[in-house]
Subunit: 246 residues, 2 copies
DNA sequence: ATCTGTGAAGCCGTTCACAGCG
DNA sequence: CGCTGTGAACGGCTTCACAGAT
């Protein structure tokens, strides 16, 4: 509680809306692409198109960070890249551990997008003795028994959980107890964590089910739509069981 | 436009809110877990806890499907499973093709969550000649040249794009031209598609960046927070370049 | 008495449209 | 004159609180 801290917060009064935070990485990627093409300046209209949003939204989003554009001109690409990177915390390194080295964990370990954005994978852990010691993407798999030691010793702050569903909550409890405050969960379970710990979830099955919903709706015709069969109050509850299993 | 179609739509007037659709798969999973434990009836409070939402939201969500609960009692698990499955379109099968059989595509091909929910993988395609013919999760990889033939011949309606970023848009254009209307994209690019085609995106790097943002905020102290350095108007634009590269 | 279903209120995010700066 | 930054209007989602069914 430094009593007289210089609170230079020109804009960005306090707290950027969550929806905006979720889009900043998209803008950042679009900006990097422009940068590679040697583009120095970009208008909100152009950048919005590259990011797949409309320009009003983009301008509103950027306005939460500050006034980084020039009226009548646009945004300087390099400068905006820096400002967004800084706001997202990408100017510092984040140490990541991946727990679970199945197919998915392996894919994550080899994913280039990690290193390129300041995320350093400092550990690959698994419970399977047969995997321990194997090299994956230039890194030896370590035994999950050493989880606490690895997390705290290497200052891991983000854990990626890629274990089977049954193991996920226990692993989560352990990484949190060891000091992790951010979790990216690929296991198909709802994780419970104490306040102050952030969890984000990636679930392939859920994404597919959402697509299926819209697909079904489209198939029902461009105008009307009603779910197949089962209209009025079903009297008994029997024949629908195999429908879902079949 | 059948003039006098029997529009039995007791509730669910038209269109379930998108936010609700995104949560139905979560409820469904929680219900399946309860079902395995032999639970027959569940209250909104219990189910909400299992799904990680509050009970008011759960009840409102379910109310969009119809009145499937019993006041004073709760919801019958089996019945609710069926109703949600039907609403999501999971009582029919969906044919999926996975394009790109790198680490990630392999992980997806082996993912059990596909088959268990009515998603049938009918094709694994890749451009790499060395991969073509290899068996992955009991399925032979086919050459991407045959994409159109496979998509339309096998009635694929959902394409999963797991190619490198550079190839994604072209692949997307081809699958859409071949008749696909739902795309699940793992490549770190914004895909352009015609109206009527749904795209959902899964991006590991974005998820990590969102976590980093909150992590940075937490590190700044539980009370105040300001981005590191760079307070007032920066006069020139020079020294921030290596900061983001370093 | 209990727990669902839902109007009503409040909050958040998006879009509009334009003032104002360069 | 062009384009950003932003108040204001709008729409959707969440939360509250309770009426009403069992």
């Amino acid at each position: 509680m430094t009593p007289r801290q210089n609170r230079t917060r020109d804009r960005a009064e306090r707290g950027i809306p969550e929806a905006t935070v979720a889009r900043l990485p998209v803008y950042l990627r679009a900006l990097h692409t422009l940068q590679e093409r040697g583009v120095a300046t970009v208008s909100s209209e152009e950048l919005a198109a590259a990011a797949g949003v409309n320009s009003a939204k983009l301008r509103k989003d950027l306005s939460h960070l500050g006034s980084y554009g020039t009226r009548g001109v646009g945004y300087e690409v390099e400068y905006l890249v820096y400002q967004i990177s800084r706001e997202l915390g990408l100017t510092q390194d984040w140490v990541v551990a991946i727990i679970g080295v199945g197919n998915l964990g392996r894919a994550l370990a080899g994913y280039g997008g990690f290193a390129s954005r300041g995320f350093r994978v400092a550990g690959l852990l698994d419970a399977d003795e047969a995997l321990v010691g194997q090299e994956i993407s230039g890194m030896a798999v370590e035994h999950i028994d050493r989880l606490e030691e690895i997390i705290s010793g290497r200052r891991v702050s983000i854990a990626v959980i890629a274990t089977p569903a049954g193991a996920a909550q226990k692993v989560c409890d352990r990484v949190v107890a060891a000091g992790v405050t951010s979790v990216l969960n690929f296991a198909p379970v709802v994780l419970s964590v104490p306040d102050g710990v952030d969890v984000r979830k990636v679930d392939l099955s859920i994404e597919l089910q959402i697509l299926a919903f819209h697909e079904q709706r489209k198939a029902g015709g461009p105008d009307g739509y009603a779910p197949p069969a089962s209209g009025e109050d079903p009297p008994g509850a029997a024949q629908y069981v195999e429908a879902v299993e079949a």
